[in-house]
Symmetry: C2
Subunit: 334 residues, 2 copies
């Protein structure tokens, strides 16, 4: 699918004419022209709002900016809000779509590997509070996700690695064969089409069984995220990319698993090696105090009555949610 | 049900210990002590956040304030957010409950007639943008609604009238017999217990058939609200109470219905008389330009592709959604 076909594709969804494209300066500069032209040609009356790029701007002010643009664009309840960009743009636009007029249709045009393999599917949207990442949000399934793989050609290497963290995660928590495949390919260059496709299959298979994260199934997708989110929050959002934080978080969770006797040191080493080969951190940075990290981790959405719950791998290809790990042991790992 | 029984009642819902009571200065001063004590006695660890009262504060800043308090209170995903107060408190607390951690349980303790008969049931939550009322929001059904009728004893007459506007609305759109009953009672003093009970029955019967307002059924509850919301928005939220604006809006919609030959002048006069007897305005104030009012009305959530849709009564006891009323005729009624 090409971005230039967006309008033709969306014509059949019954959306209202007025529509709003939400993008950021990076994606907007490269692709907004193509998308807007395509929408106009298909009979839509599109407006656009361009956000500042980066996690630092994934906050309530950006949401308010989208609301204002939605009113100016004359959206009604059948008008689509279209996210064009990476995960931050998708999360913000999705939250605005979930809540503007109590819900308008939402479409995702992900242009980064991270957004393609992770945030564009599953329906999690939201924004960060200064106290913690993604602490406000809504579930909002997109009506359509259009993936134009050619946008990955312009993606800097650091951002390819950023997406690969989530890809490797799928291997660890649920698909040993996929992990083997990634180990083989590491270094010789990724086949991103194949990787995107398999990642989406894996994620969708979990999400469709537990869309609203009520059954404990979907939580395994959070592997590396409890540690990772704390790292992002303490860094002030931005300097550490999401995938980098998740990579360090997966390494920490695997280390904890080994310490608890739940996983062998060999399996943990395989994970760390693959992370390094993918250009990702394989250990948790020591710049924050363990007690500070723990405090932020306790605000995690999986916590219940003050008891932290963590996703821990038992081997490559399998992970589960574990509660009641003594804080002392977590502190040692950190 | 008494507010002092809140804790005992909520004990059986499986909520986490930490819980947050959202109130405003008016309701908080009168009832927060009772509710917090009752929660503590039942084993909860409650915190409270007190908002400024009034529609003027039903905005994104108040939502952000609740998020901050929710983090401080140590809420987790099974912790309830409890609204104690009128419609504004309920709408804000409900939106925060719908979106904090992508959704935590929500409980309503309405203390005004308006909140009891209207906003506390149905699951509509949200806040105002400067461009229009309730333009951001979410559907969020409360897990429980506890109504303590004794709170109405301290309610000023103007706020009783404020709630009666929605009560009269139910009669006009769906229950001629209830309207007759209200006509008979007007002036001799309302039996509020009976009125609250019947209003809730009527509202629930509509909402359960069309919870997310997708089938065109629930929209009739919007009778008087398209005109009314425009009046509230243009007044800058606050000086005109919601029920007062809805009353004026119902009078305008009935006038329009008569002009279009959809309803007799006699039926319209019955509505206006009852509104007056209930201490409510029975005509639309002339202080705004019709073109300005129309502009705001077009941002209504029922609008589709620039076509305004209005709820118009055909007789006492029946109303329907009508689209394509010429703007010229609306302007004449205004």
């Amino acid at each position: 699918m090409k971005l230039a076909e967006t309008g033709r594709f969306l014509k059949n969804f019954g959306f209202s004419r007025n529509t709003l494209v939400v993008t950021d300066k990076n994606a907007g500069r490269l692709y907004a022209g193509t998308v807007l032209k395509s929408l106009r040609r298909a009979g839509f009356n599109p407006s656009a709002v361009t956000l500042e790029p980066g996690e630092k701007h994934k906050n309530i002010s950006s949401v308010a900016k989208i609301y204002g643009s939605a009113v100016k664009a004359g959206l009604d309840r059948k008008s689509a809000i279209i996210a064009l960009g990476g995960g931050v743009v998708g999360d913000l636009a999705g939250f605005a779509a979930a809540t503007f007029m109590r819900g308008v249709p939402f479409v995702q045009l992900p242009t980064t590997l991270l957004a393609m393999v992770d945030s564009s599917v599953g329906g999690k949207t939201g924004f960060d509070l200064k106290e913690g990442k993604n602490l406000a949000g809504a579930f909002c399934q997109p009506k359509a996700v259009l993936i134009d793989l050619s946008t990955l050609k312009t993606l800097p290497a650091r951002h390819v690695a950023n997406g690969m963290a989530e890809v490797i995660k799928y291997g660890v928590i649920m698909d040993a064969e996929f992990f083997d495949y990634l180990e083989k390919k590491a270094g010789e260059g990724w086949d991103l089409e194949k990787i995107v496709f398999r990642s989406l299959e894996l994620k969708a298979s979990v999400v469709e069984k537990d869309e609203f994260e009520e059954k404990g199934l979907r939580e395994i997708l959070n592997f590396g995220h409890t540690f990772g989110h704390a790292c992002e929050t303490l860094s002030g959002y931005g300097p550490v990319l999401h995938g980098e934080a998740v990579a360090a978080g997966m390494a920490a969770a695997a280390g904890l698993s080994v310490k608890l006797g739940r996983m062998t040191a060999g399996e943990s080493a395989r994970l760390k090696n693959l992370l390094k080969k993918a250009g990702l951190p394989a250990e948790f940075k020591k710049k924050f105090k363990p007690s500070e990290i723990l405090k932020v981790m306790l605000r995690d959405k999986k916590t219940r009555n003050g008891r932290l719950r963590l996703v821990l791998p038992s081997r490559i290809g399998k992970a589960e949610v574990v509660s009641g790990v003594p804080e002392k042991i977590i502190r040692e790992v950190l």
